[in-house]
């Protein structure tokens, strides 16, 4: 199992870089959508670790993404002019890692105090955290305040985005399937029983928050270098909801389903561009209908659905 996932991951990276080398043959619009898909896969799969596998309902994923995005973008903007162009990939990687690390720190900062909360309380606190991040960004001149950051170098290529998506899926899938990772699922299934069997629910929850936020930060960095522009309004409550819906649609705790859902929910709005007025109405009806008819997720087959 393990070596097969590793091979698939390596193959995906090679494929992504290969396609990326011929990217000038492709239509720029489709290429952009493809990169969006990869970023959304990272976001959805990382949120799935928190919401799905560990069962901690978080509504603040966009906040972590914002932390990573702004950090990486600011890093590139500050460092890039002083270094020769051939160092650009190093700067990019460093920026992404820094963004991820800071997002993970933010995850730690949110995770530690909120562990005591469950269900809807946790949802509200994480939502509040996302809003606080947005308000802070909106008022900090260093990060461009309300106008946002502009002129971020356009470094996110097809290869970078899809390779990192493959790495994210690989890391999270292997983590959850490892002996250690069973703890996440145990905490999800029954916190009290997990605690009684010697698993420290607090530690697992914080770990899930940190790892999930780390990848959200990476996705934020990719997003920043893909759009070349960041504004606080791009990371509001709606963005968090978008990611949550991907996880729900795919089925909580089902990595493959979540990936399919991320792809679908990125392409769908593009197809519905002509019906922009109705797009969000359809979207909200989709959420309600899904919860009424198939709460375990659209793509949750196989394993008996979680109770």
């Amino acid at each position: 199992m393990q070596s097969r996932t590793k091979r698939t991951c390596l193959f995906a990276i090679v494929l992504a870089v290969g396609v990326s080398l011929c990217s000038h043959w492709f239509n720029r619009y489709y290429l952009g959508v493809a990169i969006d898909i990869a970023i959304n896969i990272i976001l959805a799969v990382s949120l799935n670790l928190i919401n799905g596998h560990t069962g901690q309902f978080s509504l603040g994923h966009a906040g972590f993404m914002a932390v990573g995005g702004y950090t990486a973008a600011k890093f590139s903007l500050l460092v890039q002019p002083h270094l020769p162009p051939w160092l650009q990939p190093v700067v990019f990687i460093l920026g992404l890692a820094l963004g991820g690390a800071l997002a993970a720190l933010a995850g730690l900062a949110v995770g530690v105090p909120t562990l005591r909360l469950r269900g809807d309380y946790l949802a509200i606190v994480t939502l509040g955290f996302g809003e606080i991040i947005r308000v802070i960004l909106q008022n900090t001149d260093f990060f461009g305040a309300a106008t946002g950051l502009t002129g971020i170098p356009n470094w996110t290529s097809f290869g970078w985005a899809w390779s990192l998506a493959a790495v994210t899926v690989f890391v999270i899938a292997s983590l959850v399937n490892s002996t250690y990772g069973r703890g996440f699922i145990a905490v999800h299934d029954d916190e009290v029983a997990a605690g009684a069997s010697g698993i420290n629910p607090v530690r697992y929850k914080v770990t899930a928050f940190c790892i999930g936020s780390f990848f959200a930060g990476i996705a934020g960095g990719l997003y920043a270098h893909h759009k070349s522009f960041l504004s606080p309004t791009g990371f509001d409550f709606m963005k968090s909801i978008d990611i949550v819906v991907m996880v729900i649609l795919g089925g909580m705790g089902r990595t493959a389903g979540v990936i399919v859902a991320a792809i679908l929910l990125t392409i769908l709005p593009e197809l519905l561009r002509g019906f922009a007025d109705y797009r969000m109405i359809i979207y909200s009806l989709l959420i309600i209908g899904l919860m009424l008819a198939r709460p375990q997720g659209l793509f949750a087959f196989g394993k008996a659905a979680a109770k």
């Binding site: 509200i124 939502l127 509040g128 955290f129 809003e131 802070i136 109705y278 979207y283």
Partner: protein
């Protein structure tokens, strides 16, 4: 000193509106144990109901009269009560036995549905609208202190509604049933309480209060738009948690305190930009140090 009093008056006016919305959250949480995310949107719909009802009422009653204003308020409350019950019936009732998270996500879906439907150009449109003056407006000055008739109206109406709510919850059969369901749903059902009608009534009551809050808010701030309920709803929810969720006097107290804190913070130069974040910071601090809220009792979780 004058400035202090002025901020206090403004804070109380805002807080009273928070309190009216917070009551809906806390009552629904009391009987169903879930956060009705769409409650802030009912508040918005209440304001819009007032906007559209006011010309209708003015056809047979003189514009800007106390009688007409009261009639608009009551009709809007009635309309939103029906709407709240409809939302409960269509979206939440089928999910009664499902996990709480499913219901929460549905509530987010309902909230988004109302917001985006109302923003559509054939419904209300996204542009802000000017709310008509329902009653004759006056401003009184006491030294440097400015008090508008609308602010006074907010205090009086909220107090009346809170009194009415207290009467309904404490003195009527339905109120007793509500308290019973909130205390123990299964036991209440065994005693012959009709759970469905109690929950429906709770939604209606909460939505009516939210509608009243919406109209009072619109009269004070003069402009309404389909997304006005988002921030107000979140903050009113925070007020409910602050006072102790499920606790009716707590929600009112929490709303008023939150309104005052926000208004005072808005007056401090360095802090005013962070006004929207303050409520959330208060929420996080509250949940850290006294998760049960100001008036709530800590509950022991039994395994």
């Amino acid at each position: 000193m004058n400035e202090f009093l002025q901020q206090l008056v403004n804070g109380l006016a805002l807080g009273a509106i928070y309190a009216l919305i917070a009551l809906g959250y806390t009552m629904v949480y009391g009987v169903l144990r879930f956060i009705n995310f769409a409650h802030g949107d009912v508040f918005m719909l209440g304001a819009f109901a007032g906007y559209f009802l006011s010309p209708v009422v003015n056809r047979f009653l003189p514009a800007q009269s106390y009688l007409g204003g009261t009639l608009v308020l009551l009709l809007a409350m009635l309309l939103c009560a029906g709407l709240g019950m409809l939302i409960e019936f269509l979206a939440y009732r089928p999910l009664r036995q499902r996990p709480k998270l499913t219901v929460l996500i549905t509530a987010i879906g309902v909230s988004l549905f109302i917001e985006y439907t109302c923003q559509h150009k054939y419904v209300f449109g996204a542009a802000p609208k000017k709310f008509p003056d329902l009653i004759p407006t006056e401003t009184w000055r006491f030294g440097g202190l400015v008090l508008s008739s609308n602010q006074l109206l907010v205090f009086v109406t909220s107090l009346l509604l809170l009194g009415a709510l207290r009467f309904v919850v404490q003195k009527t059969r339905m109120g007793m049933a509500m308290r019973a369901v909130s205390f123990n749903e299964q036991a209440a059902a065994l005693m012959g309480v009709n759970i469905n009608s109690v929950i429906s009534f709770t939604f209606g009551l909460g939505s009516a209060l939210a509608a009243a809050g919406g109209i009072l808010f619109a009269m004070n701030y003069a402009s309404i738009e389909p997304l006005m309920g988002v921030q107000m709803g979140l903050k009113a929810f925070i007020a409910a948690v602050f006072g102790g969720i499920g606790n009716i006097p707590g929600a009112a107290l929490g709303g008023i305190i939150l309104g005052i804190i926000e208004t005072f913070a808005g007056g401090i130069p360095g802090l005013s930009n962070y006004r929207d974040g303050i409520a959330f910071a208060i929420l996080i601090l509250m949940l850290l140090f006294k998760p049960a809220g100001l008036l709530g009792k800590a509950q022991v979780e039994k395994v």
